[in-house]
Amino acid sequence: MVVLILLIGFVVTFPLYSGVFPTRVLTYMLMCAVLAVSWTMFSGATGYMSLAPAAFFGIGVYSMYLLQYYLPFPVIMVVGGLISFVLALLLGLVTLRLKGIYFTIFSFGLFVFIGNAVNYVEAEVFGRHGWVFPLLDPAIPLYTMLGLAVVTVVAIHFIRRSRLGLAMLSIGGNEEAAEHMGINTTRIKVLTFAISAVFMGAAGVVTAPSFIYSNAGIAFSSTYSFIPIVAAVFGGMGTLSGPVVGGLLFGFLQKTLQARFQTYFMLGFGVIIVLVILFLPTGVAGLVPMLRDRLRRGSKSGKGGEAEQYANT
C-alpha cells in the first residue's frame, strides 16, 4: 500500500523534473500495465486466449479522434470504454461459444476485420487517410493514464476477489463442471469479456493523442493484442501484481531499447522474454517470493511460498 502511494507520487511529480521523452515512456508503461491487467483478468482466469484487445484499443483511439473537440478528455475515456463494452458484449455473444484455439483465431480475425472495415469506410466514404492530433502537454496523457491505471487495478482487484472472479476461475478450471455447479457460463464469459474491454478501450482513448499522426492501421495495430499477452506472461499471470509489473517492465524495456538500438532492439527484447519464460515460470513478479523463500530457507528451513504468493496478490 505504501509502495503504491509512493509510486503514484513518483508518477505525479515525474513531468516536473523530467523531459518529454521519459514522460511519454512512463505513459506507455502505464498503458502496457492497463492492457496486461485487463487481459489477464479475463483470459488468464478463464483460459480463453483473446487476441481482440487491439479491436477495443482501436475503438478507443477512434472515440478520441471523433469526440476530441466536443467532450473533455476524461469523459471521452469513459465513452470509449462504454463503446468497447457494448461491442464486446455483442461479439462475445457470437464468439464465446467457440472453444480453445477457435476462439483465439476468431478474436484475431476480429481486430483485423474491424481495422480494415474502418480503413475502407474512411478512405472510400470520407476520402481521407489518417489524421493529426493537436499537440498536448505530455503531462495530461500521463495523469489521465495514471488515473485509468489506478481505477483498472483497483476494479480488477475487487473483481478477482468477488464471486465473479471465482466463476471465471472455475470456467478456466473445468467449464463443464462449472456449468453443473450452477454457473451460467455463457453469461459470465460474455460479461467479463466486456468488462475487460472497457479498460482496453479507455487505454486507446488516452494513448491516442501521443500518436500525433494516426490512421486505421496504427489504431488497430496487432501490437496492442500482443502487448498484453507477452507482458502478462513476462510478469506472471497467477497474481494481480504479475501483469502490472510485467506491463511496466515490458513498456520500459521496449521503449528504452527501441530508442537506443533501433534495429537490434527486437533481438535483445526477444532474448529477455525467452529467458524469463524459461527460467521464471511464475514470471518476473514470481521472483520476489522466490528469492525471499530462498533467503529464508538459507537461515532456517522455512515453509513453501504459497503464503507469500497469496500475500502478494
Binding site: R163, L166, A177
Partner: protein, 245 residues
C-alpha cells in the same frame, strides 16, 4: 410421489440409440443403483438428467416439473447435483475454493459470503477432507479428488445427487468408506442415484436397482430380485454366473 420421473426417455447419437425409450422413477429418500455393461447408456442417462446433452424424445420430470430444454446450471439450481465418471475438479484452485463454487452458485437465490464459506467447509468436513482445505487440488489422490467432487455437489444443497462411478478404481477398504459416505448422505435426506460397477457396493447399499443394456431398461427391482433375474444374469453377470453353476 417419485422425486424424479422419466417417460420414454430416448437419446440418439447419429443413428445409434444410446438410451432407448426408458421409463424410470426415483423415490424420495432412496438409493437407486444403476448398473449395466459398458456402453449400456448409464452415463448418457445421467447426462440427460443433468442436461449435459439434450434429450431426443421423451420427458424427465423433477418434483413434477419438466426438465426438457433447461440448461445444466438451471438443473443444478433446482436441486440436482452430480459428480463425474472422470473427475472434473477445478485444478486451478485449492480444495476449499472448489467447494465454494458449489456453495456460491449451486443453490437458488444469492448466498452470502459467510454462508457459502460455512456451507463449503461443512461439506468438506462431511466427506472427511477438513484437514486439507488449503491444499492445491493436484496434490490430492484420486480417491480424495472424488470426495472433493462429492463435497462440491453437496455444497449446492441438492435434493437429488447423481453419483457416476464414485467407487471405480478404489481398493476394498476405500470402497467400504465410500459406501459409508453414500449412506450418510442418504441419511441427510438426499435422494441418490448411483452408477456403479462395484457389485458389492450396489448390492450393499441400494434399495432398488435398475439395469440398462444397449440403452434399454431390462430389469428393475430390489437387489434380491435383480441378482436372481434370468435376463440380467445372462447379459450382465453372465459369464461369472454360468462359470459357477
Amino acid at each position: 410421489m417419485p422425486i424424479l420421473e422419466g417417460r420414454g426417455v430416448t437419446k440418439y447419437f447419429g443413428g445409434l440409440a444410446a438410451v432407448s425409450n426408458v421409463d424410470f422413477h426415483v423415490d424420495q429418500g432412496e438409493i437407486l443403483g444403476l448398473i449395466g455393461p459398458n456402453g449400456a447408456g448409464k452415463t448418457t442417462l445421467f447426462n440427460l438428467i443433468s442436461a449435459a446433452s439434450p434429450i431426443s424424445s421423451g420427458e424427465i420430470r423433477f418434483k413434477g416439473q419438466k426438465l426438457n430444454g433447461l440448461k445444466p446450471h438451471q438443473i443444478c439450481r433446482m436441486g440436482i447435483a452430480r459428480t463425474f465418471q472422470e473427475t472434473k475438479v477445478f485444478a486451478n484452485m485449492p480444495v476449499l475454493q472448489n467447494a465454494l463454487v458449489g456453495a456460491f452458485f449451486g443453490s437458488q437465490g444469492r448466498v452470502s459470503t459467510a454462508d457459502a464459506a460455512r456451507e463449503a467447509s461443512q461439506a468438506l468436513e462431511f466427506v472427511g477432507l477438513s484437514a486439507m482445505t488449503n491444499a492445491p487440488i493436484n496434490d490430492l489422490t484420486l480417491v480424495s479428488q472424488k470426495r472433493v467432487e462429492v463435497a462440491r455437489a453437496l455444497a449446492t444443497k441438492p435434493e437429488l445427487l447423481l453419483l457416476d462411478e464414485l467407487m471405480a478404481g478404489l481398493n476394498a477398504a476405500e470402497v467400504g468408506e465410500a459406501m459409508e459416505l453414500v449412506t450418510r448422505i442418504r441419511d441427510r435426506g438426499i435422494t441418490i442415484v448411483m452408477v456403479e460397477h462395484v457389485m458389492k457396493a450396489i448390492m450393499g447399499i441400494s434399495g432398488r436397482v435398475m439395469v440398462l443394456h444397449h440403452g434399454e431398461k431390462i430389469a428393475e427391482g430390489t437387489c434380491n430380485e435383480i441378482s436372481c433375474n434370468r435376463t440380467v444374469i445372462d447379459v450382465y453377470l453372465g459369464e461369472e454366473a454360468h462359470a459357477g453353476s
